[in-house]
Symmetry: C2
Subunit: 207 residues, 2 copies
Amino acid sequence: MNENISMAVIKRLPKYHRYLRELLKNDVNRISSKELSNIIGFTASQIRQDLNNFGGFGQQGYGYDVSNLFDEINTILGLDETYDTVIIGAGNLGHALANYSCFNNFGYNLKGIFEISPRLIGMQISNVEVYDIDLMESFIEENDIDIAIICTNINSAQKITNRLEKTKVKAIWNFAPVDVVTKTDIEVQNVHLIDNLLTLTYFIKDK
Amino acid sequence: MNENISMAVIKRLPKYHRYLRELLKNDVNRISSKELSNIIGFTASQIRQDLNNFGGFGQQGYGYDVSNLFDEINTILGLDETYDTVIIGAGNLGHALANYSCFNNFGYNLKGIFEISPRLIGMQISNVEVYDIDLMESFIEENDIDIAIICTNINSAQKITNRLEKTKVKAIWNFAPVDVVTKTDIEVQNVHLIDNLLTLTYFIKDK
Protein backbone atom coordinates (compact mmCIF):
# COMPACT_ATOMS: atom_id res chain seq x y z
CA MET A 1 0.00 0.00 0.00
CA ASN A 2 1.24 3.46 -0.90
CA GLU A 3 1.74 5.36 2.34
CA ASN A 4 1.87 8.70 0.55
CA ILE A 5 -1.77 9.02 -0.37
CA SER A 6 -2.68 12.68 -0.82
CA MET A 7 -5.14 14.44 1.47
CA ALA A 8 -7.52 14.99 -1.47
CA VAL A 9 -7.69 11.23 -2.12
CA ILE A 10 -8.16 10.45 1.57
CA LYS A 11 -11.10 12.82 1.71
CA ARG A 12 -12.73 10.92 -1.16
CA LEU A 13 -12.21 7.50 0.45
CA PRO A 14 -15.26 7.63 2.76
CA LYS A 15 -17.44 8.12 -0.31
CA TYR A 16 -15.89 5.11 -2.08
CA HIS A 17 -16.29 3.17 1.15
CA ARG A 18 -19.96 4.07 1.40
CA TYR A 19 -20.83 3.14 -2.19
CA LEU A 20 -18.79 -0.07 -2.23
CA ARG A 21 -20.52 -1.10 1.00
CA GLU A 22 -23.89 -0.65 -0.72
CA LEU A 23 -22.72 -2.67 -3.74
CA LEU A 24 -21.60 -5.50 -1.47
CA LYS A 25 -24.95 -5.47 0.31
CA ASN A 26 -26.61 -5.82 -3.10
CA ASP A 27 -24.32 -8.72 -4.02
CA VAL A 28 -22.46 -6.85 -6.75
CA ASN A 29 -19.06 -8.54 -6.97
CA ARG A 30 -17.33 -6.66 -9.73
CA ILE A 31 -17.66 -3.24 -11.25
CA SER A 32 -15.88 -1.21 -13.95
CA SER A 33 -14.57 2.29 -13.32
CA LYS A 34 -17.24 3.50 -15.77
CA GLU A 35 -20.10 1.91 -13.81
CA LEU A 36 -18.62 3.14 -10.54
CA SER A 37 -18.41 6.61 -12.10
CA ASN A 38 -22.13 6.53 -12.88
CA ILE A 39 -23.16 5.84 -9.32
CA ILE A 40 -20.51 7.78 -7.41
CA GLY A 41 -20.28 10.89 -9.59
CA PHE A 42 -16.48 11.11 -10.03
CA THR A 43 -15.11 10.65 -13.56
CA ALA A 44 -13.90 7.16 -14.53
CA SER A 45 -10.37 8.48 -14.98
CA GLN A 46 -10.43 10.09 -11.52
CA ILE A 47 -11.56 6.77 -10.08
CA ARG A 48 -8.80 4.79 -11.83
CA GLN A 49 -6.24 7.32 -10.65
CA ASP A 50 -7.53 7.30 -7.04
CA LEU A 51 -7.73 3.54 -6.79
CA ASN A 52 -4.27 3.07 -8.32
CA ASN A 53 -2.97 4.35 -5.00
CA PHE A 54 -3.84 1.03 -3.41
CA GLY A 55 -2.33 -1.28 -6.01
CA GLY A 56 -3.81 -2.42 -9.31
CA PHE A 57 -7.04 -4.14 -8.35
CA GLY A 58 -8.76 -3.10 -11.57
CA GLN A 59 -8.28 -5.55 -14.44
CA GLN A 60 -8.84 -4.79 -18.10
CA GLY A 61 -12.14 -6.30 -19.20
CA TYR A 62 -12.98 -7.40 -15.68
CA GLY A 63 -13.14 -4.25 -13.60
CA TYR A 64 -12.70 -4.04 -9.86
CA ASP A 65 -13.30 -6.82 -7.38
CA VAL A 66 -15.76 -4.99 -5.08
CA SER A 67 -15.03 -7.05 -2.00
CA ASN A 68 -11.22 -6.70 -2.28
CA LEU A 69 -11.46 -3.00 -2.96
CA PHE A 70 -13.84 -2.47 -0.04
CA ASP A 71 -11.56 -4.39 2.35
CA GLU A 72 -8.56 -2.42 1.22
CA ILE A 73 -10.25 0.96 1.68
CA ASN A 74 -11.70 -0.23 4.99
CA THR A 75 -8.18 -1.04 6.20
CA ILE A 76 -6.69 2.21 4.91
CA LEU A 77 -9.36 4.15 6.79
CA GLY A 78 -8.50 2.18 9.91
CA LEU A 79 -11.95 0.61 10.13
CA ASP A 80 -10.62 -2.90 10.68
CA GLU A 81 -10.03 -1.69 14.25
CA THR A 82 -12.57 -0.43 16.78
CA TYR A 83 -12.52 2.94 18.55
CA ASP A 84 -13.83 3.94 21.95
CA THR A 85 -15.51 7.32 22.06
CA VAL A 86 -17.10 9.77 24.46
CA ILE A 87 -19.52 12.59 23.76
CA ILE A 88 -19.10 15.88 25.63
CA GLY A 89 -22.43 17.67 25.98
CA ALA A 90 -25.75 15.87 26.36
CA GLY A 91 -27.86 18.55 24.68
CA ASN A 92 -29.92 17.90 21.56
CA LEU A 93 -26.96 17.36 19.27
CA GLY A 94 -25.16 15.10 21.78
CA HIS A 95 -28.40 13.15 22.12
CA ALA A 96 -28.82 12.89 18.35
CA LEU A 97 -25.26 11.63 17.86
CA ALA A 98 -25.57 9.13 20.73
CA ASN A 99 -28.61 7.71 18.95
CA TYR A 100 -26.98 7.77 15.51
CA SER A 101 -27.01 4.12 14.51
CA CYS A 102 -24.19 4.44 11.98
CA PHE A 103 -21.56 4.70 14.68
CA ASN A 104 -21.97 1.21 15.97
CA ASN A 105 -22.04 -0.20 12.44
CA PHE A 106 -18.56 1.20 11.88
CA GLY A 107 -16.95 -0.04 15.07
CA TYR A 108 -17.15 3.13 17.13
CA ASN A 109 -18.12 2.28 20.69
CA LEU A 110 -19.70 5.06 22.71
CA LYS A 111 -18.52 4.57 26.30
CA GLY A 112 -19.76 7.65 28.11
CA ILE A 113 -21.41 11.05 27.78
CA PHE A 114 -20.28 14.06 29.85
CA GLU A 115 -22.40 16.96 30.91
CA ILE A 116 -22.29 19.97 33.20
CA SER A 117 -26.03 20.24 33.84
CA PRO A 118 -27.13 18.33 36.99
CA ARG A 119 -30.52 17.81 35.33
CA LEU A 120 -28.95 15.48 32.75
CA ILE A 121 -26.24 13.74 34.81
CA GLY A 122 -27.24 10.17 35.65
CA MET A 123 -29.51 9.78 32.60
CA GLN A 124 -29.07 6.96 30.09
CA ILE A 125 -28.99 7.74 26.37
CA SER A 126 -28.91 4.68 24.09
CA ASN A 127 -27.85 2.66 27.15
CA VAL A 128 -24.88 4.93 27.75
CA GLU A 129 -24.62 6.84 31.02
CA VAL A 130 -24.37 10.61 31.30
CA TYR A 131 -21.57 11.50 33.77
CA ASP A 132 -20.51 14.69 35.50
CA ILE A 133 -18.06 16.63 33.28
CA ASP A 134 -15.65 16.73 36.24
CA LEU A 135 -15.06 13.01 35.72
CA MET A 136 -14.11 13.38 32.04
CA GLU A 137 -10.32 13.21 32.33
CA SER A 138 -10.19 10.25 34.71
CA PHE A 139 -12.79 8.35 32.64
CA ILE A 140 -10.80 8.88 29.43
CA GLU A 141 -7.62 7.58 31.07
CA GLU A 142 -9.24 4.57 32.73
CA ASN A 143 -11.14 3.54 29.61
CA ASP A 144 -8.47 4.32 27.00
CA ILE A 145 -10.82 6.51 25.00
CA ASP A 146 -9.67 7.21 21.43
CA ILE A 147 -12.05 9.91 20.20
CA ALA A 148 -13.86 12.75 21.99
CA ILE A 149 -16.89 14.22 20.26
CA ILE A 150 -17.57 17.81 21.33
CA CYS A 151 -21.26 18.79 21.31
CA THR A 152 -21.07 21.69 23.74
CA ASN A 153 -22.08 25.27 23.09
CA ILE A 154 -19.75 27.69 21.36
CA ASN A 155 -18.31 29.07 24.60
CA SER A 156 -17.24 25.76 26.11
CA ALA A 157 -15.69 24.07 23.08
CA GLN A 158 -12.17 25.48 23.33
CA LYS A 159 -12.10 25.06 27.13
CA ILE A 160 -13.01 21.39 26.74
CA THR A 161 -10.35 21.05 24.03
CA ASN A 162 -7.73 22.49 26.40
CA ARG A 163 -8.71 19.88 28.97
CA LEU A 164 -8.66 17.08 26.37
CA GLU A 165 -5.12 18.06 25.36
CA LYS A 166 -3.94 16.88 28.76
CA THR A 167 -5.46 13.40 28.25
CA LYS A 168 -4.37 10.55 25.99
CA VAL A 169 -7.29 11.04 23.61
CA LYS A 170 -6.14 10.73 19.98
CA ALA A 171 -8.77 12.72 18.11
CA ILE A 172 -11.39 15.40 18.59
CA TRP A 173 -14.49 15.62 16.43
CA ASN A 174 -15.94 19.05 17.11
CA PHE A 175 -19.56 19.99 16.32
CA ALA A 176 -19.63 23.29 18.21
CA PRO A 177 -19.84 26.09 15.63
CA VAL A 178 -16.33 27.39 16.31
CA ASP A 179 -12.96 26.01 15.17
CA VAL A 180 -11.10 24.54 18.14
CA VAL A 181 -7.30 24.40 18.00
CA THR A 182 -4.76 22.27 19.82
CA LYS A 183 -1.07 22.71 20.47
CA THR A 184 -0.51 18.94 20.63
CA ASP A 185 -0.69 16.25 17.96
CA ILE A 186 -4.32 15.37 18.65
CA GLU A 187 -6.15 15.12 15.31
CA VAL A 188 -8.99 17.63 15.10
CA GLN A 189 -11.95 17.74 12.73
CA ASN A 190 -14.09 20.82 13.02
CA VAL A 191 -17.46 20.04 11.47
CA HIS A 192 -19.06 22.90 9.53
CA LEU A 193 -22.65 21.86 9.00
CA ILE A 194 -23.38 25.17 7.40
CA ASP A 195 -20.81 24.76 4.58
CA ASN A 196 -22.86 22.29 2.74
CA LEU A 197 -25.99 24.36 3.09
CA LEU A 198 -24.08 27.24 1.45
CA THR A 199 -23.29 25.03 -1.55
CA LEU A 200 -26.99 24.22 -1.80
CA THR A 201 -27.88 27.91 -1.82
CA TYR A 202 -25.51 28.41 -4.76
CA PHE A 203 -27.65 26.09 -6.84
CA ILE A 204 -31.02 27.57 -5.99
CA LYS A 205 -30.19 31.28 -5.86
CA ASP A 206 -31.52 32.03 -9.34
CA LYS A 207 -34.46 29.65 -9.31
CA MET B 1 -18.59 36.85 -13.11
CA ASN B 2 -17.66 33.56 -14.74
CA GLU B 3 -20.80 31.43 -14.79
CA ASN B 4 -18.85 28.25 -15.48
CA ILE B 5 -17.25 27.77 -12.10
CA SER B 6 -16.41 24.12 -11.55
CA MET B 7 -18.09 22.05 -8.87
CA ALA B 8 -14.74 21.58 -7.08
CA VAL B 9 -14.31 25.33 -6.76
CA ILE B 10 -17.88 25.82 -5.58
CA LYS B 11 -17.33 23.26 -2.85
CA ARG B 12 -14.34 25.26 -1.61
CA LEU B 13 -16.22 28.58 -1.58
CA PRO B 14 -17.92 28.09 1.82
CA LYS B 15 -14.48 27.70 3.38
CA TYR B 16 -13.21 30.92 1.76
CA HIS B 17 -16.44 32.57 2.87
CA ARG B 18 -15.95 31.44 6.46
CA TYR B 19 -12.32 32.59 6.74
CA LEU B 20 -12.87 35.90 4.96
CA ARG B 21 -15.77 36.59 7.33
CA GLU B 22 -13.43 36.05 10.29
CA LEU B 23 -10.82 38.37 8.74
CA LEU B 24 -13.43 41.09 8.26
CA LYS B 25 -14.56 40.71 11.87
CA ASN B 26 -10.93 41.21 12.91
CA ASP B 27 -10.64 44.32 10.71
CA VAL B 28 -8.18 42.76 8.26
CA ASN B 29 -8.70 44.69 5.00
CA ARG B 30 -6.20 43.13 2.66
CA ILE B 31 -4.43 39.81 2.47
CA SER B 32 -1.97 38.12 0.10
CA SER B 33 -2.62 34.65 -1.34
CA LYS B 34 0.35 33.47 0.76
CA GLU B 35 -1.14 34.73 4.03
CA LEU B 36 -4.55 33.34 3.06
CA SER B 37 -2.84 30.03 2.32
CA ASN B 38 -1.40 29.93 5.84
CA ILE B 39 -4.75 30.28 7.55
CA ILE B 40 -6.98 28.38 5.13
CA GLY B 41 -4.69 25.46 4.29
CA PHE B 42 -4.95 25.51 0.47
CA THR B 43 -1.75 26.33 -1.47
CA ALA B 44 -1.24 29.94 -2.58
CA SER B 45 -1.37 28.87 -6.22
CA GLN B 46 -4.64 27.01 -5.66
CA ILE B 47 -6.06 30.13 -4.04
CA ARG B 48 -4.97 32.40 -6.92
CA GLN B 49 -6.45 29.96 -9.42
CA ASP B 50 -9.74 29.64 -7.50
CA LEU B 51 -10.19 33.36 -6.99
CA ASN B 52 -9.34 34.14 -10.62
CA ASN B 53 -12.75 32.69 -11.40
CA PHE B 54 -14.38 35.83 -10.01
CA GLY B 55 -12.24 38.41 -11.77
CA GLY B 56 -8.81 39.72 -10.82
CA PHE B 57 -9.28 41.14 -7.38
CA GLY B 58 -5.75 40.25 -6.31
CA GLN B 59 -3.16 42.92 -7.13
CA GLN B 60 0.58 42.41 -7.29
CA GLY B 61 2.18 43.81 -4.14
CA TYR B 62 -1.20 44.57 -2.60
CA GLY B 63 -3.00 41.26 -2.31
CA TYR B 64 -6.76 40.82 -2.09
CA ASP B 65 -9.24 43.35 -0.83
CA VAL B 66 -10.93 41.22 1.85
CA SER B 67 -14.22 43.06 1.83
CA ASN B 68 -14.62 42.98 -1.99
CA LEU B 69 -13.67 39.33 -2.13
CA PHE B 70 -16.06 38.43 0.67
CA ASP B 71 -18.93 40.31 -1.00
CA GLU B 72 -18.25 38.61 -4.30
CA ILE B 73 -18.20 35.10 -2.79
CA ASN B 74 -21.23 35.96 -0.70
CA THR B 75 -23.12 36.89 -3.87
CA ILE B 76 -21.93 33.84 -5.81
CA LEU B 77 -23.15 31.60 -2.98
CA GLY B 78 -26.50 33.39 -3.13
CA LEU B 79 -26.17 34.72 0.41
CA ASP B 80 -27.17 38.25 -0.53
CA GLU B 81 -30.71 36.83 -0.57
CA THR B 82 -32.63 35.22 2.29
CA TYR B 83 -34.17 31.75 2.30
CA ASP B 84 -37.21 30.42 4.12
CA THR B 85 -36.80 26.95 5.54
CA VAL B 86 -38.72 24.23 7.35
CA ILE B 87 -37.41 21.32 9.39
CA ILE B 88 -39.12 17.94 9.05
CA GLY B 89 -38.75 15.91 12.25
CA ALA B 90 -38.63 17.47 15.72
CA GLY B 91 -36.42 14.79 17.29
CA ASN B 92 -33.04 15.54 18.80
CA LEU B 93 -31.38 16.44 15.54
CA GLY B 94 -34.30 18.61 14.39
CA HIS B 95 -34.16 20.33 17.77
CA ALA B 96 -30.41 20.83 17.53
CA LEU B 97 -30.66 22.35 14.05
CA ALA B 98 -33.54 24.61 15.04
CA ASN B 99 -31.34 25.97 17.84
CA TYR B 100 -28.27 26.26 15.61
CA SER B 101 -27.51 29.97 15.74
CA CYS B 102 -25.51 30.00 12.50
CA PHE B 103 -28.63 29.72 10.38
CA ASN B 104 -30.02 33.10 11.26
CA ASN B 105 -26.63 34.73 10.80
CA PHE B 106 -26.63 33.59 7.19
CA GLY B 107 -30.13 34.69 6.26
CA TYR B 108 -31.93 31.38 6.58
CA ASN B 109 -35.30 31.90 8.24
CA LEU B 110 -36.82 28.88 9.93
CA LYS B 111 -40.58 29.19 9.46
CA GLY B 112 -41.94 25.90 10.76
CA ILE B 113 -41.11 22.44 12.07
CA PHE B 114 -43.16 19.37 11.11
CA GLU B 115 -43.63 16.28 13.17
CA ILE B 116 -45.72 13.10 13.25
CA SER B 117 -45.64 12.56 17.02
CA PRO B 118 -48.65 14.18 18.80
CA ARG B 119 -46.43 14.61 21.88
CA LEU B 120 -44.33 17.21 20.03
CA ILE B 121 -46.95 18.95 17.87
CA GLY B 122 -47.80 22.40 19.26
CA MET B 123 -44.42 22.87 20.97
CA GLN B 124 -42.23 25.87 20.29
CA ILE B 125 -38.54 25.38 19.50
CA SER B 126 -36.50 28.58 19.24
CA ASN B 127 -39.82 30.45 18.90
CA VAL B 128 -40.83 28.33 15.92
CA GLU B 129 -43.95 26.20 16.11
CA VAL B 130 -44.05 22.43 15.63
CA TYR B 131 -46.93 21.54 13.27
CA ASP B 132 -48.61 18.31 12.30
CA ILE B 133 -46.78 16.69 9.37
CA ASP B 134 -50.11 16.54 7.50
CA LEU B 135 -49.94 20.31 7.12
CA MET B 136 -46.49 20.25 5.50
CA GLU B 137 -47.47 20.65 1.85
CA SER B 138 -50.00 23.44 2.37
CA PHE B 139 -47.62 25.31 4.68
CA ILE B 140 -44.82 25.15 2.11
CA GLU B 141 -47.08 26.52 -0.60
CA GLU B 142 -48.58 29.29 1.51
CA ASN B 143 -45.23 30.43 2.88
CA ASP B 144 -43.12 30.03 -0.26
CA ILE B 145 -40.61 27.83 1.53
CA ASP B 146 -37.28 27.47 -0.30
CA ILE B 147 -35.47 24.73 1.62
CA ALA B 148 -36.72 21.65 3.50
CA ILE B 149 -34.36 20.13 6.06
CA ILE B 150 -35.06 16.44 6.66
CA CYS B 151 -34.31 15.24 10.20
CA THR B 152 -36.58 12.18 10.23
CA ASN B 153 -35.53 8.61 10.84
CA ILE B 154 -34.08 6.48 8.06
CA ASN B 155 -37.46 4.94 7.12
CA SER B 156 -39.33 8.19 6.58
CA ALA B 157 -36.74 10.19 4.67
CA GLN B 158 -37.57 8.99 1.14
CA LYS B 159 -41.32 9.14 1.78
CA ILE B 160 -41.00 12.75 2.88
CA THR B 161 -38.84 13.45 -0.19
CA ASN B 162 -41.57 12.02 -2.44
CA ARG B 163 -44.07 14.38 -0.82
CA LEU B 164 -41.70 17.34 -1.13
CA GLU B 165 -41.30 16.65 -4.86
CA LYS B 166 -44.90 17.66 -5.32
CA THR B 167 -44.35 21.06 -3.67
CA LYS B 168 -42.51 24.13 -4.93
CA VAL B 169 -39.62 23.64 -2.52
CA LYS B 170 -36.28 24.30 -4.27
CA ALA B 171 -33.84 22.29 -2.18
CA ILE B 172 -33.66 19.43 0.28
CA TRP B 173 -30.97 19.18 2.92
CA ASN B 174 -31.15 15.62 4.21
CA PHE B 175 -29.68 14.53 7.54
CA ALA B 176 -31.31 11.08 7.70
CA PRO B 177 -28.56 8.47 7.25
CA VAL B 178 -29.79 7.36 3.83
CA ASP B 179 -29.37 9.03 0.42
CA VAL B 180 -32.71 10.36 -0.77
CA VAL B 181 -33.28 10.77 -4.50
CA THR B 182 -35.66 12.91 -6.52
CA LYS B 183 -36.94 12.66 -10.06
CA THR B 184 -37.44 16.42 -10.31
CA ASP B 185 -34.95 19.28 -10.40
CA ILE B 186 -35.02 19.89 -6.64
CA GLU B 187 -31.43 20.26 -5.44
CA VAL B 188 -30.55 17.62 -2.86
CA GLN B 189 -27.67 17.51 -0.40
CA ASN B 190 -27.38 14.27 1.52
CA VAL B 191 -25.30 14.95 4.62
CA HIS B 192 -22.94 12.16 5.64
CA LEU B 193 -21.83 13.00 9.15
CA ILE B 194 -19.91 9.76 9.33
CA ASP B 195 -17.65 10.55 6.33
CA ASN B 196 -15.61 13.00 8.20
CA LEU B 197 -15.25 10.73 11.19
CA LEU B 198 -13.81 8.12 8.81
CA THR B 199 -11.15 10.59 7.66
CA LEU B 200 -10.28 11.18 11.31
CA THR B 201 -9.87 7.47 11.89
CA TYR B 202 -7.38 7.33 9.01
CA PHE B 203 -5.10 9.66 10.91
CA ILE B 204 -5.23 7.92 14.28
CA LYS B 205 -5.27 4.27 13.20
CA ASP B 206 -1.56 3.69 13.82
CA LYS B 207 -1.17 5.86 16.90
